[in-house]
């Protein structure tokens, strides 16, 4: 890709778009990691790299089994570290190969140099992050700080809450990441253990269905090939870097519309997929709302249902995509609530109000929304290192949110640590 390239073509409508394959799907009892492996197989990925680290290593395991069973053919390279793992796929993407890699926690961090450059060079890839605490040695449970670290670099980033959503989102991710209007990498975050290792019934679509949704990756004139002599990553210094950053910014801005397009098509072809950016749960007449990501949805939904039975008007908004951040959608979903409790499975030490990452992001998204009647925003830090968040915890948090809505006992900007020993 040259630094001066600004014209990013809109893809011609693929003839595939109009063919609706018959909905033939197999129901299988599989884990989140296995669902990701199925998506990778169905996307017909060309190059996969691996380096073991739990909980992501389960994906590596399922992919190698599929290859061994003859169900899937691809280049599968076990690298000598995550850094090489992500470097290999980055360059494979430059020559036009569809690629996949994944990692967890410190493994993802060890790849960081490659991660930053992949986004900067506009090389699409889909990565799975099996969320894991950043060691000190010995912490394997889920925290979101690993994946969140790429949030400012141009990576698209989402959290899924079920194995079905993991499979579906991976297919959508390929379509959007490889869209010539976007060409950005995409990370799919799956909560370690809670999603990577727990099984549920998943509809695994047929190859024909997937083929009707997901076109082949085509880099066009950006493809590195002897017949197409171009330079990728030229030395640009201050002469061009700002323009390149600007191009990434424009691609990231376009990502929302391309995602909406992809979800619309996915919903039409697969009969599921839902609203692209957020999931609204019992929000219709909600007076207060909880907001969270990933498998936090499980205890929260159960608690919200119970509280609804008791007549409490509480709802839940699950943020599915963190990048692009669903600013408009959240402004809309939270327009009528008096207070919001954001449950973060992450930390952002020293940040504004010492809140979680999602809470602060939401606060800035809502700030210009309606100047007078801002909902109060409370930040809850919960479930770090994989600690259980019970429905009881959720009910207690909700009580604090109702109190804030009624102006009782709390400052709107408070941050609460849930279930931490003093």
């Amino acid at each position: 890709m040259s630094a001066v390239d600004t014209a990013i073509p809109t893809p011609k409508k693929s003839p595939l778009d109009v063919v609706i394959a018959p909905r033939t799907e197999n129901e299988e009892l599989i884990s989140g990691s296995e669902a990701i492996a199925h998506a990778v197989r169905l996307a017909n990925v060309d190059v996969i790299t691996a380096y073991p680290i739990r909980p992501y290593d389960t994906v590596m395991q399922y992919v190698s089994k599929m290859i061994a069973d003859g169900d899937f053919d691809c280049e599968f390279i076990v690298a000598e570290s995550e850094h090489s793992q992500f470097e290999i796929v980055k360059h494979a993407s430059a020559v036009g190969a569809r690629v996949f890699a994944g990692s967890s926690g410190v493994g993802w961090f060890y790849a960081f140099e490659a991660l930053a450059v992949t986004a900067g060079l506009r090389l699409p890839m889909v990565a799975m992050v099996g969320n894991r605490a950043l060691d000190d040695p010995g912490a394997f449970g889920v925290e979101h700080n690993d994946a969140l670290a790429v949030r400012d670099l141009g990576w698209m980033l989402c959290w899924v809450s079920t194995a079905q959503e993991a499979l579906d989102t991976a297919l959508i991710a390929y379509r959007v990441a490889e869209d010539p209007r976007i060409f950005l990498p995409c990370a799919i975050s799956c909560d370690g253990a809670f999603l990577t290792h727990s099984q549920s019934i998943v509809k695994v679509p047929s190859q024909a269905m997937v083929d009707s949704f997901l076109p082949r990756y085509d880099r066009g004139d950006k493809r590195l090939h002897p017949d197409n002599p171009i330079t990728i990553a030229p030395q640009v210094n201050e002469d061009w870097l700002m323009e390149m950053r600007r191009q990434s910014d424009e691609a990231a801005r376009r990502a929302s519309d391309v995602l909406i397009e992809a979800y619309r098509d996915f919903n039409a072809k697969f009969g599921r997929g839902g609203e692209p950016f957020i999931e609204r749960y019992m929000m219709d007449d909600a007076e207060v709302a909880l907001v969270g990501m990933g498998t936090m949805a499980m205890p929260v939904k159960v608690a919200v249902r119970k509280m609804r039975e008791q007549g409490k008007k509480v709802g839940f908004v699950r943020v599915r995509w963190f990048r692009p951040f669903p600013t408009r959608e959240l402004q809309d979903a939270l327009a009528d609530v008096h207070a919001v409790g954001v449950i973060d499975r992450d930390f952002s030490f020293g940040s504004a109000f010492f809140s979680g990452v999602l809470a602060n992001e939401l606060r800035s998204a809502l700030y210009p929304a309606k100047k007078k009647n801002q909902p109060k925003i409370l930040s809850f830090i919960a479930g770090l290192g994989g600690r259980e968040v019970s429905t009881g915890n959720v009910m207690k948090m909700t009580k604090t949110v109702f109190d804030a809505a009624n102006g009782v006992g709390t400052d709107a900007q408070d941050t609460y640590w849930i279930g931490a020993r003093e």
């Binding site: 073991p52 680290i53 290593d57 570290s81 040695p137």
Partner: protein, 277 residues
């Protein structure tokens, strides 16, 4: 090397109260026993010894020992050990870990630690597998090892740690077997005494993911030839080696890296003055 201490300690004095979580039969138990025995035999004291590791089953070693310990991040044991040794040359610094930790993600440190020749001892418990992450092929895994995670094998030529250590300038190169407690304790003691970078590759079976490695005790045998100080001869020996000859292969006489402590330096603020605006 530290001066021998007045009261001699036993191997058990170098073991901590933490019970190892290794699988029953894991070769690493033997390494814990023989390493603590070597330290006792050398009349060292726990407060003068530091054991540094990365991540892996074998890298748990510092937790099970009673001396200074550092359980670092995956692949970086030698970087930490180098920093420690140059800052505290009085300590006996030992790095421990596995073949994944040392030859894969940490492979570059291995080469450069040999080149730099800091006075360290590096013990690798090689089981030809990533044990802790449940049995994936490592750089020393045989290319045709068929397993659930790498069906049909990797087809990739194994890493040759002794050849690389020799070629990169390690001052002491040995192969040992964790089942031979007495012989390996002796080799490790020699490695600790040897000046410069000493590398001991210990074949240490992973009974869980490589149960066939139990056979190593039949196969490992003392090398029929004594150590050499001629790298060419050592290299030739490795080229004809079946991997089961144990003993010290090579002892060199390269001058160890000397940290520049106590040297006259221009005071920093004098330098800063020159740039003041």
């Amino acid at each position: 090397m530290n001066a021998p201490s007045p009261t001699l300690l036993a191997a058990k004095d170098f073991k901590s109260d933490t019970k190892p979580v290794w699988c029953p039969g894991c070769g690493d138990y033997g390494v814990l026993t023989l390493l603590t025995r070597a330290l006792a035999d050398l009349a060292l004291r726990p407060e003068n010894v530091a054991v540094v590791s990365g991540i892996g089953c074998s890298s748990r070693m510092p937790a099970y020992m009673n001396c200074y310990g550092f359980h670092g991040v995956h692949g970086r044991a030698l970087a930490v050990a180098t920093g420690l040794k140059v800052a505290r040359p009085d300590l006996t610094v030992i790095a421990t870990g596995g073949d994944g930790d040392g030859y894969s993600i940490g492979g570059n440190h291995f080469i450069h630690a040999c080149r730099r020749n800091v006075d360290l001892t590096y013990i690798v418990m090689d089981n030809h597998v990533y044990g802790m992450t449940k049995g994936q092929s490592s750089p020393t895994t045989e290319p045709d090892w068929d397993n659930a995670l790498m069906p049909g094998g990797t087809g990739v030529r194994p890493f040759q740690p002794l050849v690389i250590a020799l070629a990169s300038g390690a001052n002491f190169v040995a192969r040992a077997f964790s089942g031979d407690i007495t012989g390996t304790a002796e080799i490790v003691a020699q490695a600790i005494k040897a000046p410069g970078f000493a590398f001991v590759e210990i074949m240490s079976p992973c009974v869980t993911f490589r149960p066939e490695q139990r056979e190593w005790k039949e196969l490992a045998r003392p090398s029929p030839v004594p150590p050499t100080d001629d790298p060419a001869r050592a290299a030739r020996r490795l080229m004809t080696d079946d991997g089961f000859n144990i003993g010290v292969l090579y002892t060199g006489n390269r001058k160890p890296y000397q940290p520049a402590t106590g040297q006259e330096r221009k005071p920093l603020n004098a330098l800063a003055q020159g740039f003041a605006l």
